[in-house]
């Protein structure tokens, strides 16, 4: 089945220790997104890639970076995690919304990040 896969499902890191979260997709979608979701809050878009073009949200901290080496994979790098970065991180994909009438996004299961 075509899907969005995130690894690991649970990640524990120490304060200040860099961490990388992984997302892969078999949908062959142009666009990949990273969201941060804290408890009882809405998913918040951090950035997205349209093919290799990176688009950062204005309020995304510099501590968060992303890489997309190919169509299938996208990584979220947190350079120096703080306690406030503990959250669920969601990866999503979509086809190019400019070619269709709507932007339906397909989500992975998320990675829950704990910062000690």
């Amino acid at each position: 089945d075509a899907m969005v896969i995130q690894n690991p499902r649970y990640q524990v890191t120490q304060f200040g220790k860099p961490v990388t979260l992984s997302c892969s997709q078999t949908l062959n979608h142009n666009v990949m997104y990273w969201y941060q979701q804290k408890s009882s809050q809405a998913p918040k878009l951090l950035f997205h890639y349209y093919d290799k073009d990176f688009n950062n949200e204005a309020d995304t901290p510099d501590n968060f970076q992303s890489r997309r080496p190919n169509t299938s994979f996208c990584f979220l790098d947190i350079r120096s995690p703080g306690l406030g970065d503990a959250a669920m991180y969601l990866c999503a994909t979509s086809r190019d919304p400019d070619r269709g009438a709507y932007n339906e996004q397909f989500f992975g299961p998320g990675t829950r990040l704990t910062v000690l």
Partner: protein, 116 residues
């Protein structure tokens, strides 16, 4: 900037009760509207979507939603809920803002608990 409001944080119903979850958005232009559902321990899944045409849309599992443009609303309904509908429900809006059609703005979610 667009925003999405979900009025109820937590709704508790008995099986067979009718459900209506409110969603309002703030954006005056063309929008696409979505309801996503997140069952316990699972990823966000699309429940239904509206992008044009009939403002009453039907989704999976007996859910429907009505787009009322004059009220900037997209409320989710189900005539008779089941225990298996226990989940968190997120309303989301994709505004065609000219600059980017990629961004989904989510509401904070409504947790639905259905008691058997």
């Amino acid at each position: 900037a667009q925003s999405v409001s979900q009025h109820n944080h937590h709704v508790i119903l008995s099986e067979a009760a009718s459900l209506e979850l409110g969603c309002n958005y703030s954006y005056g232009g063309t929008v696409n509207l979505f309801w996503y559902v997140q069952y316990p321990g699972q990823h966000l899944q699309l429940l239904l979507k509206y992008f044009s045409g009939d403002p009453l849309v039907r989704g999976i599992k007996g859910f429907e939603a009505e787009f009322i443009k004059s009220k900037f609303s997209f409320n989710l309904r189900k005539p008779s809920v089941q225990w298996s509908d226990t989940a968190e429900y997120f309303c989301a809006v994709n505004a065609h803002s000219g600059g980017s059609n990629y961004k989904l703005t989510f509401g904070k979610g409504t947790l639905l608990t259905v008691n058997p």
